[in-house]
Symmetry: C2
Subunit: 216 residues, 2 copies
């Protein structure tokens, strides 16, 4: 007879992520970690989401970038509280950065916190932030082979947003092949087909987000 | 009076990169490290380059991916020796991986070695491979703000290839803003505007590559 005793040893990052999570839960905030390649449309998705949820949910945003405040400036211009994290070369956000950013937000006035991770399809997936939901933004011009070439980024997701559907007529993107590759990794994850440019498909994404946050 | 004594301490990776470089030099191979975000078109650029240089230069390719042999299979189908490196989750190539790949190539039969790094706009830039030239592939749908948001990836480049120019009419890409942002980092780096889909602009890139390799 074999008896296995397993104890999960939490990393320092995981422990701090749990503290972030507790803090968010205490303030009844649903936090969403949004990951993607550079230029897939994370900021555009956040701006479209802000627009769609105006008057329906109170949002806040944490913006992760290597440098610049370009993105946080856009969010603030849309009238939503935003904290910019500059990683100074770091390739992903971590729980320490989020803990610091949470201190700068009035969490009691927030329903949904959107966290835009550093544009990187590899590293962010390995670092828990304390988020409730993990969302990957893929984009049509990146090609349908991304789940095959970056499988670790397609694991343990709560949703995939496939952005830039408006460019499908101009590139060789095989939607069926993309979905087959996703399904080989995750049989159930919802895939939202959207275009932040045209607004196509945003309702379904926003409805899902509201539902996940207990707001609908 | 202040006297500064500076000594560069080489990392293990840097030392091995110098060994790779010596090995390439001995075989008269020019090695090009090709970096980009996922889906910017590194493999398409390599395939177009193979096509353009057929009969003019002897190429070989090292393909870096987290997983799969999709890319190396495409290169081999084009009749060029290719070694696939799977990093198994690793976010960049390093000099150890290249040393191993070089052992699998008949370097005396190669003029130009194209090394496709892992799709990642952050991490690969920090790891020397022993390459002679560092090239970044940017793509139009990623947006013109990438040099501002990922400045470290635009430092110390020998060329920038701006791919997917054919998509410019369908996205909000401000070419002047992109070039201004690049010039703020590097006043002189050549920028090639190309479309791997249509073939537009490839001659200038290929001519530059031939020149850098001492073949023209």
């Amino acid at each position: 007879m074999e008896i296995k005793v397993e104890e999960k040893i939490l990393s320092a990052n995981d422990r701090l992520a749990l503290e972030n999570r507790a803090r968010l839960d205490a303030a009844r905030v649903t936090a969403v970690n949004i990951m993607a390649s550079p230029g897939a449309g994370k900021t555009s998705l956040i701006l479209r989401t802000i627009e769609a949820l105006r008057g329906r949910a109170r949002l806040a945003v944490i913006e992760g970038d290597l440098a610049s405040t370009v993105d946080a400036d856009k969010i603030k211009a849309a009238g939503v509280p935003a904290v910019q994290i500059n990683t100074g070369g770091g390739c992903h956000l971590d729980a320490v950065m989020i803990a610091d950013a949470l201190r700068q937000l009035a969490l009691d006035d927030v329903d949904i916190l959107l966290i835009e991770n550093v544009g990187n399809l590899v590293c962010p997936t390995n670092f828990a932030l304390g988020e409730h939901k993990r969302v990957l933004v893929a984009s049509v011009p990146e090609g349908h082979d991304k789940p095959i070439k970056y499988p670790s980024s397609f694991v343990d997701l709560d949703a995939i947003v496939l952005n830039k559907m408006d460019l499908a007529p101009y590139v060789d993107f095989d939607l069926a092949a993309f979905e087959r590759a996703v399904r080989a990794i995750d049989a159930d994850v919802p895939i939202f087909h959207i275009s932040c440019r045209t607004g196509e498909g945003l309702e379904a994404w926003v409805a899902w987000l509201m539902q996940q946050s207990g707001l609908s």
